[in-house]
């Protein structure tokens, strides 16, 4: 053991320190997310099995070991039964899936050519365009939704422009419609679609496309047979980044949608803040989470493939 060039053998205290450091770096963020992200879902599920009561907090306890308790476990599926009985919830869930799905498709249709164009420009132009995609992502989401309220309103810019051009006689109803909700979602979520698409398109080796073109494939054939399948990871990541949060969207349907633009995020919010029925709101959230399990697993897989 007289190897002078090798590292000194660490002392026992140093090894102990290394282990402590490692446990600290892994343990602290793990513990935080476990406590404030994972455990809360369990509590939501627990409260979804409770009865609402007029008290503080407004729900019954799951376990009751009191002397005059009829049984120690107090769980009910009434909240879930109620969800299936009232049409409001069916319509909310269905509308949310429809609106989020169509908006995701629209984001993809507009975002794909944009990401493609950015990935294929010269490095300087590319950096500027990327910056332009990222910038709105940093500026206030709430205020960007608000900007459309001014544009789409009865006396808004769009109606003003259309009547100035003589295209319409009376102002169009655009604000407080489903159309405005689609527009708002595409507008606020499109950077989330463009960025992962750009990341896969930029890394893509162009040899395959060149080979296909050399062999006589038409441009659309090259696209459908090589570019599109190769960019699938980006399509999945981008679509999930849009679809999942859009499904539970609250701000956009509330500010831009009409009374009939029911989305589950808004229903949950009202159930909690207006009706103050915490157990029912928890049941709504639990069902929403179950709907989201598969999309979230798809998203996580796409994130792991990146590593």
């Amino acid at each position: 053991m007289n190897d002078v060039s090798g590292p000194k053998k660490p002392r026992y205290s140093q090894l102990l320190g290394d282990k402590l450091w490692r446990n600290f770096v892994i343990g602290l963020p793990y513990f935080w997310l476990f406590l404030f992200f994972l455990v809360p879902f369990g509590i939501v599920f627990k409260i979804s099995l409770a009865d609402p009561i007029v008290a503080q907090p407004p729900f019954t306890a799951l376990f009751d070991f009191g002397a005059n308790a009829k049984s120690w476990l107090h769980a009910t599926f009434d909240n879930y039964l109620f969800l299936t009985e009232d049409n409001l919830y069916w319509i909310s869930y269905f509308n949310s899936i429809k609106i989020a799905g169509i908006s995701t498709l629209l984001c993809l249709l507009l975002g794909y050519p944009m990401a493609y164009g950015i990935a294929r420009s010269t490095p300087t132009v590319r950096n500027v365009l990327l910056m332009l995609v990222i910038l709105p992502f940093w500026t206030s989401f709430l205020l960007r939704v608000y900007a459309w309220m001014g544009l789409l309103g009865k006396n808004g810019m769009v109606n003003g422009l259309l009547s100035y051009l003589g295209l319409i006689d009376a102002p169009l109803e655009m604000l407080y419609t489903n159309g405005a909700v689609y527009l708002g979602i595409v507008y606020t979520y499109i950077p989330f679609m463009i960025l992962p698409l750009y990341a896969t398109l930029e890394k893509m080796d162009l040899d395959l496309q060149d080979a296909a073109a050399d062999l006589g494939a038409k441009p659309w054939q090259v696209f459908v047979d090589t570019t599109l399948p190769l960019s699938m990871p980006g399509i999945i990541a981008g679509s999930m980044l849009v679809f999942i949060p859009a499904l539970g969207e609250f701000v956009i349907p509330t500010l831009l949608g009409g009374i009939d633009s029911l989305m589950i995020g808004r229903t949950l919010y009202d159930e909690f803040f207006v009706n103050r029925d915490w157990p029912l709101a928890s049941a709504v959230a639990t069902v929403l989470l179950i709907i989201l399990v598969i999309p979230i697993m798809l998203f996580q897989r796409s994130q792991q493939e990146k590593e």
Binding site: F36, G117, L268, F299
Partner: protein, 270 residues
Amino acid sequence: MNRSSRFVFSALCFGFAFLYLPILVLILFSFNDSSLATVWGGFSLRWYSALLNNEQIIDAALLSLKIAAVSATFATILGTMAGLALTQMGRYRGRLIFTGLIAAPLVMPEVITGLSLLLMFVSLQELIGWPVSRGASTITIAHITFSMAYVAVIVQSRLGSMDQSMEEAAMDLGGRPMQVAFDITLPLIAPSMLSGWLLAFTLSLDDLVIASFTSGAGASTLPMVIFSKIKLGVTPDINALATLIIGTVSIGILLASWVIFKQNKRHKEG
């Protein structure tokens, strides 16, 4: 230009016009003299002075800035640790769950995160008497939780693309992991940590839904005040406020990215 590149070019033009025109119109109308929010009545700064005299908005803005600064700092520390734990710590038990815990907050609908955190705080209060009341501190904990995931992703992607030979050399020379992390790794990823902090700061400043759930009586953040005003329609003083916020954030981001760009360039040249 052939047909397909002409199509891509027009998609880019349309897309960027779509992204930027609404914001530009909003900024323009913040200088509008008319109290009708959508009819042009000449240039004026009256909505800006009205804003400065609105105590409710000033108080809410100060509270939001405080929460954003504290939560961004803690989120950067925890998120950087999470980034290190995911890239440099090899295998350990529960790593798969950990990656899921980092990825899920990025996409989780805000109503779910908000509701679950509130119910968590209520249960904790019943169980151990803490938190005594809900307000700035519970909002801060909620913001740390979702923004640390964003910081972790930024730091993780930087660590993943980084050359690790410096760390390996330091370890070969007998450096202990903690020493190497502080002397080598952290200085190298400092720009990503700065981006992470800025992102966490703006995410916190912008959050409405999670803050509404986790706040108690009395503590109203800026988005909560804005939301209660714009629910009823467009108001010109919010246009002015929006211009101030969007202007400040844009200038901050452009400056930060310019600094990072310069540093990277010097790094490559040096």
